[in-house]
């Protein structure tokens, strides 16, 4: 395994991983105040990195075994900590996806972020993210993966709080950071547990079935559950899902790149990376299936009532990540990774479309957008509809194929309950997606009064960039589904990956799914688009339910209560008391005692000469006696 890599691979990797870091360094130290230069540096770096990733993908298409190249980074005690890359179909595909979406989003940002005072800083953080995320995908060991896992978390924090002068934005950044940290703590504990027991954290080594012999089943399950905790945090799954909707405070391109297409998918990616390892513990696979299903349904229900376009897409992201985990948890490696890939494309498209609308109408509320004439944004709406159709799983768009694969896998390999949940989710998805679309498509109620509404007159170049990116992504969404065969074949070359599910046995499944989806779309049309529309969704007929969904199942209130009662009321108070009374008090007491003794000692030293001489001779006498008789 440890052969020295061919020179062209080294070069390509160095370019793909090194350039974004260099761009980050240069922008942050030198060119931050010059927006144009910063953007060119960052874009250039990510474009070259994308080219390199694509070449790597093509060069390794159909390679027989995964390639691992490592060097020893440092030695802690006896244990060497390696730094290296693991190239296999999964990592190469993810590398390319991340580089591609990063490039597209950065181009889009040229228009979206134009004129922002923090333009240079924005591109610096984007480069930081690109570097961390790209390196994460090809990490050869969990230690390295964890380091970059935290770095993408940092980039996420910086970008969510990008408009930090806004109170809600900095609060949202903090919330995202703290909540993901909770999961990361579990992840770290899992890593430590594995390290103590195995002494090796290489991904290839962990996916080896022999790991089951070297760990007791209890330890294996515990370690897997702890690592799964990290996945829950990063991919915003139940119960750590509420940070993601709040993270929408960041700029929309950031939401598109980090909080839907790539960074949050890192959790799912980690699961895919360690698929062999997780497969060893059936309990964790079931847990994964359950968490995925629960998150998928919860988030979908929240999306039913939201009026904020970015919130809807955020809930939908959680929901789709839940789908991926369902697929993986049911043993469908290829299905999960394929959905990850297609989702990256169409969800980025949806967010970027939302960005254009927000940019144009200065509001996140879909109802106000439609009042102000969202229907006239033809190109954007066409793209939006393509993305929405993909999300709902309509053929022949990419989402249809990948979702179909997951459902087929559930139908074959899992309990019917999970399939029923998946079908329900698919109905809900189609309903909330097309509710949004139909609202946006309604004719404008107001006459256009653009100038009064503070309409942004972007420079034509920026508009062009944004439009070009939308069209590219829409094209990808249309095309990507047909690559299913090739991609499935490519992915199943990954070591340890089971053969793809035999979807062709299930002729009835697409029919059922499409019927459900169609019903959902009709329901949405009935309520929001026909001439005599009622304007109220079926959920709104049950105010309790609507409130429950809108308040996110009271999860935030629960966390707030726990935080106030347990953390602030319990731990903080106890520690504060300890700090003030025991530590401070103890030290003060100790110090005061020393000072008091000092005063006594000083007073004795001011005594008369007779006393001093007496002390002198007394001490000498004691010493004499001790030496003479001891």
């Amino acid at each position: 395994m440890m052969s020295s890599p061919p020179i062209e691979v080294v070069l390509l990797l160095a370019v793909a991983l090194g350039l974004p870091l260099t761009a980050f360094g240069v922008i942050m130290t030198l060119t931050r105040s010059q927006p144009r230069v910063s953007a060119i540096i960052s874009l250039g770096a990510i474009a070259v990195a994308f080219g390199a990733s694509l070449s790597l993908l093509i060069a390794h298409w159909g390679m027989p075994t995964p390639l691992v190249y490592e060097i020893t980074w440092l030695v802690a005690g006896e244990l060497p900590i390696p730094l290296g890359v693991l190239l296999d179909p999964t990592s190469l595909l993810m590398l390319t996806v991340v580089a591609a979406i990063s490039l597209l989003v950065q181009i889009y940002s040229l228009g979206y972020m134009a004129g922002d005072p923090g333009f240079g800083r924005y591109y610096g953080c984007m480069s930081l993210f690109a570097w961390a995320m790209l390196t994460l995908t090809v990490s050869s060991s969990l230690i390295q993966l964890y380091i970059f896992w935290e770095l993408v978390g940092l980039a996420s924090y910086l970008l969510i709080g990008f408009w930090f002068e806004k109170w809600t934005a900095s609060e949202a950044g903090k919330k995202a950071f703290v909540m993901t940290r909770l999961g990361d703590t579990a992840f770290l504990l899992g890593l430590i547990l594995l390290w103590l027991n195995l002494g090796d954290l290489s991904i290839a080594g962990l996916n080896d079935p022999q790991v089951a012999d070297r760990l007791s089943p209890g330890q294996l399950t515990l370690a897997a559950v702890l690592i799964f905790g990290g996945i829950i945090g990063k991919s915003a799954q139940f119960p750590l899902l509420t940070w993601l909707p709040d993270a929408m405070e960041g700029p929309t391109p950031v939401s598109a790149l980090l909080h839907s297409a790539t960074m949050v998918a890192a959790g799912v990616y980690l699961f895919a990376r360690l698929f062999g390892f997780f497969s060893l513990s059936p309990a964790v696979m079931t847990l994964c299936l359950a968490v995925g299903t629960l998150s998928m349904l919860l988030a979908a229900s929240m999306a039913l009532v939201s009026r904020d376009i970015k919130q809807v897409w955020a809930y939908s992201t959680i929901s789709q990540l839940g789908y991926m985990l369902m697929g993986l948890g049911a043993g469908g490696f290829t299905a999960g990774v394929f959905h990850l890939t297609t989702h990256a494309g169409f969800k980025a498209l949806l967010f970027l479309c939302a960005g254009v609308l927000i940019h144009h109408f200065d509001t996140n509320d879909i109802f106000r957008m439609s009042q102000r004439g969202s229907r006239r944004q033809r190109l954007t709406l066409v793209c939006l509809v393509i993305g929405a159709a993909a999300l709902s799983g309509l053929p022949p768009l990419s989402g249809f194929f990948s979702k179909e694969m997951i459902l087929a896998h559930l139908a074959v390999h899992a309990h019917p309950f999970w399939l029923a949940a998946g079908l329900l989710g698919s109905f809900l998805t189609a309903y909330y997606t097309f509710r949004l679309i139909f609202v946006l498509l309604r004719p404008a109620a107001e006459t256009p009064s653009d100038d009064a509404e503070g309409h942004h007159h972007s420079e034509p170049f920026g508009e062009l960039c944004m439009a070009a990116v939308l069209v590219t992504l829409a094209g990808l969404t249309v095309v990507l589904g047909f690559g299913q065969g090739a991609l499935t074949h490519f992915l199943s070359a990954a070591a340890g990956a089971p053969p793809p599910a035999p979807a062709h046995h299930l002729g009835w499944l697409p029919v059922v799914v499409l019927t459900l989806t169609g019903a959902a779309i009709v329901a949405a049309w009935w309520e929001f688009a026909r001439q005599k529309r009622s304007e109220t969704g079926w959920v709104d007929r049950f105010p309790t339910l609507a409130t429950l969904f809108a308040r996110r199942w009271y999860l935030d209130d629960l966390y707030r209560w726990l935080l106030d009662r347990v953390v602030y009321g319990g731990f903080s108070r106890a520690f504060t008391w300890n700090d003030q009374r025991v530590i401070d008090g103890g030290l003060d007491g100790l110090g005061q005692t020393v000072i008091d003794w000092g005063a006594i000692s000083a007073r004795l030293n001011r005594s008369q000469i007779q006393f001093r001489l007496m002390v002198l001779f007394a001490v000498v006498a004691v010493l004499v006696l001790y030496l003479a008789f001891a």
Partner: protein
């Protein structure tokens, strides 16, 4: 031959003779005396440096000139020269007494130089007394006669009592072994090592060194003497006298290589008591010189840790630490002399606002006090590290722990001084800046450089001290 071996001592003797003559002249002249003393002090330092490499025995082998003694003589010459540089504005001593001051400084230096070369116990005693009597008189020479006499008398009484103890020890040692020559004692130590009388004699003989070092319980002269004596005299006692005392203790314990047991216990007890008493009492002080005195008592305890290891590493550490004390304490007194101006004593509170009156002096004070407290990277840190390391090699863990606890206590009062110098605002808003002559400025910079550079690169000095300590064993 003899002249070359004895050259530094002869130069000091000549200096003393010159000042006998100058003291007899009817017209006192402070500037003339100062320049003469400085010139001759520089000459002595130069001669001592040239004599660094010589070796030999003198006076029927009662006097040994070797690397150890020559290193210490150079240090003594350096200390004496530096102290003379403090005497440019010697306002606390009446002008007609200046020549006598330099005369007594010379005889004290002569005594200390003889001390570090003595290998016969009687020669040792004579040298000790010569330096002690000079110092008793020096303490008296202060314009505030009543106070100075009181302090001088206490110094004298403690000194003579110690001499009595030491003579008793000498008598025991001589009576039990029939020899008073350290070389003979070392050579035949094996046959006497078990006898309590011999151990007792040696311990009591060490009292002479303890007294010079101001080790508990022979310390009680120090606070008064430091406080009441002239600044430069106190500086001399705090530096030159301590360096020579360290050398004397190392010479006397030379025979004890590899020894352990009771004597080590006694010495460890004295070290602990000295550190603790010194540090605790220093916490409550308000006068800067008195604080320095208690700090000296505490440092005597640290030094004794190195002595009681009876190993090359320990002895080398003691020599290193003696140099460190010389540099750090001298820096403190230099700052004191410059801030005090007309020779009055300084309370710690009087240092308020020093960083504005003279940033350079404040910096020097800070480095010196950090060094005394043992904060890296200073010469004091390296010295303490070497001492404690040598003690740990011999397994004195408890002793080192107690010493470290003492270091923490000492940090408190050193930082109190620094707090006054840097943070406290002076009561009088407008205090004049302290002018520094170019020479003084250069000297201060040199001292700061020495404290920090040797802290960073102790290897050079360590090489020298190891060479000196090697001779003892």
């Amino acid at each position: 031959m003899m002249m070359t071996l004895f050259a530094p001592e002869l130069t000091v003797l000549a200096t003393a003779v010159v000042f006998v003559v100058l003291a007899c002249l009817p017209t006192p002249d402070a500037r003339r005396d100062y320049l003469t003393a400085a010139g001759l002090g520089a000459l002595t330092l130069f001669v001592a440096l040239t004599a660094l490499g010589v070796q030999g025995d003198l006076f029927q082998e009662a006097y040994r000139v070797d690397r150890f003694s020559q290193v210490f003589k150079t240090l003594l010459a350096l200390a004496a020269f530096l102290v003379i540089l403090l005497c440019r504005r010697l306002q606390e001593i009446p002008i007609q007494r200046h020549a006598e001051t330099y005369l007594l400084l010379s005889t004290a230096t002569l005594g200390l130089m003889l001390l570090v070369s003595s290998v016969h116990l009687f020669a040792f005693f004579m040298a000790l007394e010569l330096s002690s009597y000079s110092l008793y008189l020096l303490v008296f020479l202060h314009r505030d006669q009543a106070q100075a006499q009181q302090a001088g008398l206490r110094y004298f009484l403690v000194g003579t009592s110690t001499s009595a103890v030491m003579l008793f020890g000498l008598a025991l040692l001589y009576g039990a072994t029939g020899t008073a020559h350290l070389g003979t004692l070392t050579a035949n130590w094996g046959q006497w090592a078990g006898q309590p009388t011999v151990l007792l004699g040696l311990l009591l003989t060490l009292a002479g060194g303890f007294f010079k070092l101001a080790l508990f319980p022979f310390h009680s002269w120090a606070p008064d003497a430091y406080e009441r004596a002239a600044h430069s005299v106190a500086a001399y006692i705090a530096t030159a006298s301590k360096v020579a005392a360290a050398a004397a203790l190392l010479r006397l314990t030379g025979p004890l290589t590899g020894a352990g047991g009771l004597l080590v216990e006694c010495l460890a007890l004295l070290a602990i008591l000295s550190m603790t008493v010194g540090n605790l009492a220093a916490v409550a002080q308000t006068d800067f010189k008195r604080l320095m005195a208690f700090s000296s008592i505490a440092h005597a305890g640290y030094l004794l840790i190195g002595v009681l290891t009876f190993s090359t590493a320990g002895s080398s550490a003691v020599v290193f630490y003696a140099v460190a004390i010389l540099v750090m304490k001298y820096t403190c007194f230099l700052v004191l002399v410059q801030v005090s101006g007309d020779g009055r004593n300084l309370a710690i509170a009087d240092l308020a606002g020093l960083h504005r009156r003279s940033p350079l002096l404040a910096l020097a004070l800070m480095m010196a006090l950090f060094g005394l407290a043992g904060i890296p990277p200073t010469i004091g840190f390296s010295g303490k590290l070497l001492l404690f390391h040598a003690a740990l090699q011999k397994g004195h863990l408890l002793l080192v722990l107690i010493a470290m606890f003492n270091v923490v206590i000492s940090l408190y009062y050193y930082l109190r001084v620094l707090k006054a110098a840097y943070l406290t605002e002076p009561v009088l808003a407008q205090q004049p800046p302290i002018p520094l002559a170019t020479g003084d400025r250069a000297l201060v910079l040199l001292l700061i450089a020495a404290i920090t550079l040797i802290g960073f690169y102790p290897a050079g000095l360590l090489h020298l001290t190891e060479a000196a300590a090697q001779v003892l064993f």
